[in-house]
Amino acid sequence: MVLSKQKITILIVGVAIVVVAIVRLILSPSAGSIDAVAARTQGPAQARVNIVEFLDFECPACAKGAMEIKEYLTKHPGDIHLQIKYFPLMNMHRHALQVASYAECVSRQGKFWPFFDTLMPLQSQWSPLFSAEAIFDQIAGQAGVDMAKLRACVSSEDVPTTIMNEKSLGISLGVKSTPTYFINNKMVVGYKSLVEELNKYFPQDK
C-alpha cells in the first residue's frame, strides 16, 4: 500500500498531536497541596481570593507584581490571602539564592513582611551590585531581626534545602518563570496576567 503525500501529512500531524498530548499528560502538574508557611502568608485563610506566589526576589516583574498585590491588599484586606514561595532563578540572577536565604532566615524570626516590603521597592538598587550582602543586612536590621541569629541562619545548610524544596514544588506545578501566581488554583504568569485576573475579582478597581 502506497500512501499519498496528503495521507502521510495527516498521519504526521496526528502523531505529533498524540505525542504532545501524551507528554503533557505525563508531565501534567501534580495536584498536591501547597502547605502555607505561616511567616510568609498574609490575610485571612478563608479569604475569597487565595494567591500563592512563586517568586524570585531579584526578578523585576516580581517587584512590580509585589507592589500591585500590596495595593490590592491595602484596598481589600479581608478578601485576599497571600502566600509567598521561593523560586530563585540562579542561572539568571546572581543574588537569587542569597536573597532567598535572607528571606527564609528573617521568616524564621517572624519578620518576613517588613523585610519583603522594604526589599522589593529597592530591587533596582541592590540587583546590579556585585555584592548586596550589606544592603540585605541593613534591610534585615531595619526589620528588627536578631543579626547574630540571622548570620548563623544564612550560612546554615538547611536553608538552601528549604528554598530548593519550594522551587521543586513549583516545578512540579508547572512553574517555569517568575512571577507565577496560583489565584484560586488558576495558574497566572507575569504582571499583566496578574492584573487581568485580579480585575475579575475586583472589577471596581479597574
Binding site: 504532545v20 503533557r24 508547572g174 518563570s177 495558574m187 504568569v189
Partner: protein, 144 residues
C-alpha cells in the same frame, strides 16, 4: 550541506515548539506579553498557535515534506522573530532572555537576533537550491 542545514533548522523549530507545547501555555503567554507588541486578545491566540506552527514546520523540514512551503514558513517565522525581538531591543524593553526555547535554553535577545538572522540567510540559501534540499526527503521518495 543543504540536508544538514535543513535538518538543523528543523530541529531548532521542533525543540522550540515542543518545549512550549508540553509546558502550561501561560509560560509562553508571559514571554509574548514581555515583547509588548500584540493586543491582549491576540497575545493569547499567538501563545496557543505559534508553538504548533513551530513544531509542524520543524517536523516537515526534518522529514522533508512539503519542503517549498516549509522553507517559506521558516522564512516567515524567522522574519517575524527578528522584527519582534528587534523592536524590543530598540525600545529597550527589560527582557532578561528571549524566551524562544522556554526555560531549556536562555539566550539574550541581542544574541538570538544574530542567530535568527543567520538562520534566515540559511533558509534563503536553501530555497535557492531546491534540488540539494530535496535529497533524503519524503518529497523525493514520494515522487519516485
Amino acid at each position: 550541506m543543504a540536508v544538514f542545514l535543513r535538518i538543523f533548522i528543523g530541529l531548532v523549530f521542533l525543540i522550540s515548539g515542543f518545549e512550549k507545547l508540553i509546558s502550561p501555555y501561560q509560560n509562553f503567554l508571559y514571554v509574548i506579553q514581555a515583547y509588548e507588541i500584540f493586543p491582549s486578545g491576540m497575545e493569547k491566540a499567538v501563545a496557543f498557535i505559534v508553538p504548533w506552527i513551530e513544531l509542524l514546520t520543524g517536523l516537515f523540514l526534518i522529514l522533508g515534506l512539503w519542503l517549498g512551503w516549509s522553507l517559506k514558513g521558516a522564512l516567515v517565522l524567522f522574519s517575524c522573530f527578528i522584527v519582534i525581538v528587534g523592536q524590543a531591543l530598540i525600545r529597550s524593553l527589560p527582557l532578561e532572555a528571549c524566551g524562544c526555547f522556554g526555560e531549556w535554553i536562555h539566550i539574550l535577545p541581542k544574541n538570538i537576533i544574530v542567530f535568527d538572522s543567520v538562520m534566515l540567510l540559511g533558509t534563503f540559501w536553501l530555497l535557492r537550491h531546491p534540488a540539494q534540499v530535496k535529497r533524503f526527503s519524503l518529497d523525493q521518495s514520494l515522487k519516485a
